[in-house]
């Protein structure tokens, strides 16, 4: 028998520079990924709901106090959500994350505000005019520095992808073309589009999907004939490159928000709980009749159940370079220290370079090309060796 060659450990004996980690931008993050991210950082549903709603409210109130346009709000909330998917909430204060998200969004949307101004505006909202401060008050000094430090993590969390989506403009155009009344249905649609940012819908869907969903829900709330707004005329889904499944998912996301957290929204208090429940029932019936899945799935998700225990999630038992979710070091930050949260990106950055790319295809091509040089390919083959005659023992 030919001896088998022992495989050498491929990773340690690397020759040449580290191939570096590539972090690919994800402009869309679907529900299954969101659920997985949150479970990886051990975030319970109730806690996550609370932090999400409070943070978005913080951002909304503060941006209005600063006279910032809605696009800054949109971008800030998306950054806030993406940040929270990566960092365990024991590592940071949600209000700081909200402030940092707004600060970052101000830069991206070209509506610059100093971090001190943001903190000061929020402060002044909470106290009366008698207690209000100006933004150069030393009270904000250290806090402002922390926010600026978090900005880097915000940008990394979004993979430096500065493309942002703002459904409001398209939604206004649609509402206008449909002849909505500016004081009624159109206003409701606008407020729905703001409330929508309290859900994860903006991370999951395209601009057209979200705009259309807001229009349809506004129409339903104003008891307009819903069928006029579903995939017909100006609202034809083909024209807008969307589909009933995506719109339905968004509508249900919004209704879930209104049913479970009505008081924490803008539109919620204006209608009774029953109204929302009735709309949900109608949509549920439509969805089950047409077998519309609740959430869009990744290609790797298909065949798995809608719970988190799907094959897609478990299959990743190796080191997955494209989605860092758990930090290598435990997040033990003592309560007294004000420290920026560690992120998996930061950890990997200590071992090698982390590069951020927008184009997923390019990342894949590069990886397959580079792997040719880094993977040791072992081949086993048998070689015939002539037997040596055994020496006989001489008795």
């Amino acid at each position: 028998m030919a001896p088998a060659a022992t495989p050498t450990s491929a990773s340690e004996d690397r020759v040449g520079p580290h191939p570096s980690y590539i972090e690919v931008a994800k402009p869309y993050i679907l529900q299954s990924r969101i659920v997985k991210c949150l479970s990886d950082i051990h975030m319970s549903d109730t806690r996550e709901d609370a932090v999400r709603l409070q943070g978005v409210q913080w951002i909304d109130l503060t941006r209005r106090a600063l006279n910032l346009p809605v696009r800054t709000f949109d971008t800030a909330v998306v950054y806030y959500h993406k940040f929270r998917l990566l960092h365990a909430d024991t590592e940071y204060n949600w209000a700081d994350a909200a402030a940092a998200a707004l600060f970052t969004a101000c830069k991206i949307e070209d509506t610059l505000k100093k971090s001190k101004e943001i903190l000061c505006a929020n402060w002044n909202l909470k106290v009366g005019v008698g207690e209000s401060l100006s933004s150069d008050d030393p009270r904000f000094e250290n806090h402002a520095k922390l926010i600026i430090g978090l900005e880097r993590l915000m940008l990394e969390g979004a993979s430096f992808d500065f493309r942002s989506r703002h459904p409001q403009k398209l939604m206004v155009k649609l509402a206008k073309a449909l002849g909505f009344d500016t004081h009624n249905a159109a206003r409701t649609a606008w407020n729905l589009s703001i409330d929508m940012y309290r859900t994860f819908a903006p991370l999951k869907q395209t601009t057209t999907t979200t705009a259309i969903a807001c229009i349809e829900l506004a129409a339903r709330l104003h008891t307009m004939a819903a069928h006029k707004f579903i995939d017909t005329g100006i609202m034809s889904y083909g024209k807008w490159s969307t589909g009933r499944a995506e719109v339905m998912e968004t509508l249900l996301d919004l209704l879930d928000l209104y049913i479970h957290h009505r008081a924490s929204t803008t539109v919620g208090p204006l209608y009774s709980l029953e109204t929302f429940l009735n709309i949900r029932i109608t949509l549920n019936q439509e969805a089950s009749a047409a077998k519309i899945p609740r959430f869009t799935l990744y290609a790797s998700d298909s065949g798995a159940g809608s719970q988190g225990t799907s094959n897609g999630a478990k299959a990743r038992n190796g080191i997955d370079p494209t989605s860092p979710l758990t930090p290598a070091t435990p997040g033990t930050v003592s309560p007294g220290t004000v420290q920026a949260p560690t992120s998996a990106i930061g950890i990997r950055g200590q071992n090698g370079t982390v590069r951020f790319m927008l184009d997923a295809a390019r990342a894949r091509d590069e990886r397959s090309e580079v792997d040719k040089y880094h993977k040791n390919e072992e081949e086993e083959y048998e070689v015939e060796v002539p037997n040596e005659p055994e020496k006989r023992r001489v008795r």
Binding site: K26, P27, Y28, L30, R33, R64, A65, N67, L68, P69, V70, D110, T111, V129, G130, S132, S134, S135, D136, R165, Q168, K169, L170, V172, K173, L174, K176, A177, T182, A186, R187, W190, N191, I194, Q205, T206, T207, T208, I234, K239, W240, S241, T242, T296, L297, Y298, A299, S300, A360, A361, R364
Partner: protein, 237 residues
């Protein structure tokens, strides 16, 4: 209750140290509101400083007055506004005096008056009367660089701007530079107006409604691009 003398002192200091920065205006305005029970004293402080400080500071005080009236109006402290309305002529007199030394402040005053009129804190008649006064104080028509005919006494040479404006006295160079810096700062802030929206949501939606174009090819194309991006993410995510 704060000592009235100290309040006056602190307010005077705030006024004399006003700059183009929004924070300094805000600080002073908030201070005034905090001590609104002494509004008569504070108002006299303002008039005092207007008549004692440099032209630059007077310009800054003018902007401060706009800020103060706005804040006072919003917070229901109408006494500040009333006193200003009563004394507005005296204020303009101080900021743009007869002798032409305040010519650099004409634009400032005009701008503030118009802002106050827009907020209905000043009557249109008052503003037009003041406008007439301003026009008579504005030396632009006789400025050697702007006018067609050069002045015969040849003061169009070194420091002409400063000299012509003063009609005699020289403007301190540091003051001129400071004024340039402050104007630059104010212009920067003005650019914010391009994107600022009223905190009240109504305005932003209405603006978008009025200004948006019809649905067009670009909108549809944007939808196609986004869908393709999303589908790529689904395939390879």
């Amino acid at each position: 209750m704060a000592d009235p003398f100290e309040v006056r002192m602190r307010f005077t200091t705030l006024l004399s140290h006003l700059s183009a920065s929004h924070t300094s205006l805000q600080k002073a305005a908030v201070f005034a509101l905090k001590n609104r029970e002494m509004e008569e004293d504070l108002h006299s402080c303002i008039l005092e400083q207007l008549e004692r400080t440099s032209m630059n500071t007077r310009a800054n005080i003018m902007f401060f007055i706009e800020h103060l009236c706005d804040l006072a109006n919003r917070e229901g402290a109408v006494e500040f506004v009333r006193r200003m309305q009563r004394d507005v002529f005296r204020v303009v007199e101080a900021v743009v005096p007869v002798d032409g030394t305040g010519a650099a402040n004409v634009r400032v005053v005009r701008k503030v008056l118009q802002a106050l009129q827009a907020k209905t804190l000043l009557l249109p008649e008052t503003v037009s009367e003041l406008e007439a006064v301003l026009r008579s104080r504005d030396i632009a028509p006789s400025h050697p660089f702007i006018a067609d005919d050069a002045t015969p006494d040849g003061t169009a040479a070194a420091g002409a701007g400063a000299n012509a404006r003063n009609g005699g006295g020289r403007l301190d160079k540091t003051q001129v530079m400071q004024r340039i810096e402050e104007d630059r700062e104010r212009h920067k802030r003005l650019r914010e107006n391009i994107w600022t929206v009223d905190g009240d949501e109504e305005k932003e939606m209405e603006m978008m409604w009025d200004e948006c174009s019809e649905l067009g090819e670009d909108d549809y194309l944007g939808g196609v691009e986004e869908r393709d991006d999303r589908e790529n993410g689904i395939k390879f995510g």
